[in-house]
């Protein structure tokens, strides 16, 4: 067996905490830029939220998009966006929500179908009426806020409140910058995007919890060490695991991004960004922020982790 590879060699001691000012400047700039982009560009809400019509068609030969554009533009359906989607004979058509009730949306779908005829393959037809769109926005917001709330409460419960607050700030940082990414590239923001963001939230918090766990452990191990030093040690000790997991997850996501088809590509992109930024924020945001909240040390559940070299007793692992 060949010798296992280590991305992060043992004994790595990068001064993460000492460099926190640089990280904070970067993060604040990132969040501000995201807000700016969201305000200036806005998010390109898909039909899930805005209501409207989406059709994916496959033409026999390469699609003549300008011709399609003028053909469908002539139907007087308001804003019609046409783009290549996946291959050169695959086209995505998005039509704004028609004024009036659901009835008008259905008529618009029929108008498009009769204009394009039977020569094209209708791979996907979706229409969301104004009623449902408003409800989906509500449900999406509720899911995000609810999940964040539950995560905060859980961390609060398992750690000290300072940890919960820092984890939440790091999480908000990740989510806002993901919104910013979507405002920047103008990709469609739809229900799967919300799912991706919630997954990012779960992943990012997962990462943060692992480092926090180590901080808590080190609190008991090194009673005399300064907070800054201890945080930095904790980050470095878990760095190997953090990078390993992020890397394997990224490998899987890159596979989806490149081979999973056009529908999943945006979904994967959001998550790729989320993994990168979530890993960054666990290391550079969540833990260094703890410095400013001064969590108490040593009064968590009494747990004897033992000195190195002995097997610890009484930890709450499963008993065999």
């Amino acid at each position: 067996m060949f010798k296992p590879l280590r991305i992060v060699p043992h004994g790595t001691n990068f001064p993460f905490v000492a460099n926190r000012t640089k990280a904070f400047v970067f993060s604040i700039a990132l969040v501000l830029a995201s807000f700016g982009l969201i305000l200036v560009n806005g998010l390109n809400f898909g039909i899930d939220f805005r209501g409207g019509i989406l059709m994916e068609i496959k033409t026999e030969g390469p699609a003549d998009i300008p011709a399609l554009r003028s053909q469908l533009g002539a139907l007087d359906l308001g804003e019609v966006a046409i783009q290549e989607f996946g291959g050169e004979n695959e086209v995505l058509i998005r039509i704004q929500r028609q004024d009036g009730t659901e009835e008008e949306q259905l008529l618009a779908v029929e108008a498009v179908k009769s204009s394009l005829g039977d020569k094209v393959d209708y791979r996907r037809t979706e229409f969301v009426g104004p009623t449902v769109g408003a409800e989906l926005i509500e449900a999406g917001m509720l899911a995000m806020l609810g999940a964040l709330g539950a995560i905060l409460v859980y961390i609060w419960f398992r750690f000290e409140w300072q940890f919960g607050v820092c984890a939440l700030i790091a999480l908000a940082h990740d989510i806002i910058s993901t919104f910013g990414l979507f405002a920047l590239n103008g990709h469609e923001f739809n229900l799967p995007t919300v799912a991706a963001i919630l997954t990012i939230a779960g992943y990012s918090i997962n990462d943060t919890v692992v480092v926090f766990d180590r901080v808590r452990e080190n609190f008991r191990k090194y009673k005399k060490m300064s907070l800054a030093e201890l945080f930095n040690l904790s980050i470095n000790e878990t760095l190997s695991r953090t990078t390993m997991t992020s890397f394997t997850t990224l490998l899987a996501l890159l596979a989806i991004y490149f081979f999973g088809g056009a529908v999943l590509a945006d979904f994967a992109l959001a998550m790729i960004w989320g993994i990168v930024i979530g890993t960054y924020s666990s290391i550079f945001v969540a833990v260094p922020l703890l410095l400013y909240l001064q969590p108490r040390r040593g009064d968590e559940e009494d747990e004897d982790l033992g000195a190195p070299g002995t097997v610890p007793q009484g930890a709450d692992g499963p008993k065999d």
């Binding site: 067996m1 296992p4 991305i7 043992h10 496959k58 029929e110 393959d121 209708y122 791979r123 996907r124 037809t125 979706e126 229409f127 009426g129 009623t131 449902v132 449900a139 999406g140 899911a143 999940a147 539950a150 995560i151 859980y154 398992r158 229900l191 799967p192 799912a195 919630l198 939230a201 779960g202 918090i205 997962n206 919890v209 692992v210 766990d213 000790e237 695991r241 390993m244 997991t245 890397f247 394997t248 997850t249 899987a252 996501l253 989806i256 490149f258 081979f259 999973g260 088809g261 529908v263 999943l264 998550m271 982790l305 190195p308 070299g309 610890p312 930890a315 692992g317 499963p318 065999d320």
Partner: protein, 524 residues
Amino acid sequence: MLQFQPWKITVVALVCALGVLYAAPNVIERDLTQDLPSSWLPGKKINLGLDLQGGSHLLLEVDVDVVIAERLESIVDQARRNLREERIGYRGLGVSGDTVRFTVREAEELDKARDIVRRIDPQTETQTDVGNVVRISLTEVAIRDLKTRAISQSIEIVRRRIDETGVREPTIQRQGDDRILLQLPGVDDPERIKALLGQTAKLTFRMVDTTASVQDALQGRVPPGSQLLEAADERSGAPRHYVVKRRVMVSGENLVDAQPSFQDGQPVVSFRFDSVGGRRFGQATSENVGRPFAIVLDGKVISAPVIQTAILGGAGIISGSFTVQEVQDLSLLLRAGALPAPLQVLEERTIGPGLGADSVAAGKVASMIGLLLVIGYMVVAYGFFGLLANAALFFNIALIVAVLSTLQATLTLPGIAGIVLTIGMAVDANVLIFERIREEVRNGRTPMAAVEAGYQRAFRTIVDSNLTTLFAVAFLYFVGSGPVKGFAVTLGIGIISSMFTAIMVTRLLVVLWLRRSRPSELPI
């Protein structure tokens, strides 16, 4: 944590074996499973979502207000008749908002009028107001009952209509207060189904009011007890409007059968009444020979033939200017019964079979590539232990597929992404453990002690970090819809099974290996 009692080994091995067994039908070719004695082999495959197998998802809203309005209208009709019988003068009888109101001409008759109308419908509240006004409104219980019944009836009728079209395995579910969710696998052009559901198909046979002129009625002078209806037939030459009595001779509820057929080369619908309907129709036609009656469908007059002789056989035909398709659809609708209220399509998502197949193919490729990358990387990073983690990963995937197949949970496109993501994240628990073991080895522990401490210390972190992710997933499940829900299901199952495989399966493999080879140094 290194002790494994034999029964525990058996349980872990059994879970893994069952996982592989139940996952197997998804991998084995269909014809092969048919050759096998399938009695002992679980045959369920993963249920593909509409976005993967192609099909149509329709969200319908039942317009329940129509049912309430109809009930109020019928109270108006009854009140008119009763007040006339009792010779009580009234004016302004009609529905305003959610109440029926009228004004009694003579103040002394107010109480009598109120008592008369109070008896019409036990589920109403009747009040009198200044100016001799009587107001009748439905109780809240009545309104709730009406709505509930309208929804359950609608679901039943929708189910019958869909069944008549021959769509296989449709899902028809109530959603929320007044919605119906319809999932139609394999339907890539739902236009016909939408058209079928777009009609309430209320059929009535009523007399034409020959005493009233259409001209007068068009100017708003409709005799009480009659109404002005449009003709369904829009050809020139045919009359555009009819004045028809409100009173229904027989309605579609009394039909037992309706079939498309031909008369004089024209497509027509032939129908049969049940015994009650046949009797009523026979009586009405024998009393009205020589007068026209109207066949009214959804408020439009299909035709208004003159009654030649009494029709006593309980059967008849509906002719009109129909095409063959229209006759087929109308017979189907009449057989299935009328919807209590109109349906509105709120949301439609239709995926063609081509896109679904492409998505499945792309998902397979992405999963395989993702899997190979992760497997390769784990071996590079952890050597022999990486191999053990990969074995656990194999069982992990088998368990996910097995659980999805057994629960018949629906796998959606984002669900595939969830599985691939799980492949990436599943190794996390093992990574945590292996990194910990490395640390313990560096701290100078013996292989046994290092493995023991590694598992013990990593365990808590694994639980903490996975539980937080599960929270996010639970919210996705409860709030999300359709594909997003599918994503939450696969991710949730993946998290749980990855915890099991990392904590139990790899640990078992590591322990067995340690027992056998008693290494002096860990290859980690």
